[in-house]
Amino acid sequence: MARGRLALGVALLAAALLFPAFVTLPYPRDVLIRIFLFATLAQAWNILAGYCGQISLGHAIFFGTGAYTSGVFVARDVASPWAAMLVGALLAVVLSQVVGAPVFRLRGHYFAIATIAVGEIVHILAVNWDFIGAARGLYIPIKRPDSLVNFQFHQSKAVYYYIVLGLLLLGLGVTRLIERSRLGYYFRAVREEQDAAASLGVPVARTKRVAFAISAALTAACGTFYAQYLLFIDPESVLPLSLSILICLVAVLGGVGTLWGPLVGAVVLIPLGEVTRIYLGGTGKALDLVIYGALIMIVSVVQPAGLVGIARRFRRAA
């Protein structure tokens, strides 16, 4: 059983690594890049919401932090995008602590709505902030030649693929590490019963702050990747409430509080959007979300642990 699973994992990883060598068409690669990106974003959210139980509906602010940091760094020639990834992650951590300090005192729905409020405030500020291009957005100047230092690859976008795959593996690795450490137990205890956790010596506030920091840093790294991949960012693409919600929905569909849930959610959802768009044209853009909304409702009612939970249930029954 365990060996079979390991073999499956190795095979999947090998397939993922070799994919760009065999498929050089840009389109499938782009779809996979977006699957990995959203899987990583959902994983970052999952660490905070799924494991630690703090349901943030404003995660786009961290994505935007990472994206804008690299945008500003490259557009103004401050430093390499890799430095921006680090600085962006750091800024996101700082932001998460500033936001978290007051907001973590709120529980449940109050917390969720407060994160929406914070997300909207940041969004509105970005729309009005000229230094980062305000509503016009920010073009990231093209740097030649292609190089890892520049984080730009125009000859072959395969390098982007490997970078985002690296981010995904990082997200999975961090989650695995958390699951198997004291921190993971503390996260889940805080999620289940805050007072009981405190009575057993769990530093509740600090545990939430740590979860928020890890989650924010990983989300910001994804933001930097996104900015370098698309070379254009504006508040509507990196900071809207709809992005925050999409991140949650990927995780919820796949299964919150599980290691593989976010990846499963992204593997199901992102292609679903593509398929409906191809076959149904303009209106298909909404139709994938119709199916999505319905799936989310069903998952919430039937099995809060998402598709991964449903699969587990079947395996147990079999």
């Binding site: 349901i55 709120l106 709505i113 909207e120 009005n128 119709v290 909304g293 409702m297 009612v301």
Partner: protein
């Protein structure tokens, strides 16, 4: 800034605030009953607006005249939402509670877009149009009618929950589910009724808004966000206080736009939410 401009702002904010209050009342009622936030509230409002738009477009019926129809439709939708979705997640983990209605919101919004497109629609040549000038202040007649209607509906809601036996049973259920059920109140029926009444509130609000507001699939979400703030101000579950909550939100929105930049006006509103829930989680007015 001239005093007329401020006065103009205050009047405008007050009028919109009354509509926000009606939207928020339904939200607060539902939360008070079962501690569930309806994240699809804005989408229900959007559907109400589309319903009144289509009755006008297809049958030429003015949104004001089709109000009872819209209210009834939305009450049915609210009831169906409870029976078909919410009752299964009453005791579910917080995450399932939040995302069940979130899923519904995504479903309704994208469904509206798939069916009717993302375009903006406006009712032309409505029953009431034009504007009134009083003391240098311009007031749009549709806005005046809408806020008057919202106030009237709010009053009816208040009388319903405080003066009728069913309303009192609703309140009893909100205060103590178990005690209410021991007194012979069918709490399941009360929950469904709460959703129906909440739906009717957004139905009326949507119909009133359609007389002067564009109708499109994304229209509901911003209203819902403002309604959450109004509910928080009043205190989650305190229905009468949402009237004050809604008016405060309307005023803060307009005055924020006047004091700073109009594009920043919502920062004041969301900032207000944060300040209020952090400082007084039970709301400004009360009962928790």
């Amino acid at each position: 800034m001239t005093s007329e401009l401020v006065l103009q702002g205050v009047v405008g904010g007050l009028l919109m605030g009354l509509v926000y209050a009606l939207i928020a009342a339904g939200l607060s009622l539902i939360f008070g009953l079962m501690e569930i936030v309806n994240f699809a509230h804005g989408e229900m409002l959007m559907l109400a607006m589309f319903a009144s738009f289509w009755t006008w477009a297809l049958w030429g019926l003015d949104p004001l005249l089709s109000l009872p129809l819209t209210a009834g439709l939305l009450a049915a939708l609210g009831w169906a939402t409870y029976r078909g979705l919410v009752r299964f997640i009453l005791d579910a983990p917080m995450l399932a509670q939040i995302f069940a209605t979130f899923g519904l919101a995504v479903f309704l919004r994208s469904g509206a877009q798939a069916l009717w497109g993302a375009d903006f629609h406006l009712v032309k040549a409505p029953l009431v149009e034009g504007r009134l000038v009083a003391g240098g202040v311009f007031v749009g007649l549709p806005q005046l009618v809408a806020s008057g209607g919202a106030l009237l509906a709010f009053g009816l809601l208040y009388l319903f929950i405080t003066r009728t036996e069913t309303g009192l049973a609703l309140q009893a259920t909100a205060q103590d589910r178990q005690a209410a059920s021991l007194m012979g109140i069918d709490t399941q029926r009360m929950f469904a009724l709460g959703w129906a009444v909440g739906g009717a509130c957004v139905g009326v609000a949507g119909g009133l808004l359609t007389t002067f507001f564009y109708v499109f699939p994304e229209v509901g979400a911003p209203f819902a966000l403002l309604a959450y703030v109004a509910v928080a101000l009043g205190g989650f579950g305190n229905v009468p206080a949402t009237l004050a909550g809604g008016v405060v939100v309307g005023l803060v929105e307009v005055l924020g736009g006047l004091l700073f930049d109009p594009s920043l006006k919502l920062i004041g509103v969301f900032g207000l939410y944060l300040v209020v829930v952090l400082w007084r989680p039970q709301g400004l007015f009360g009962r928790f």
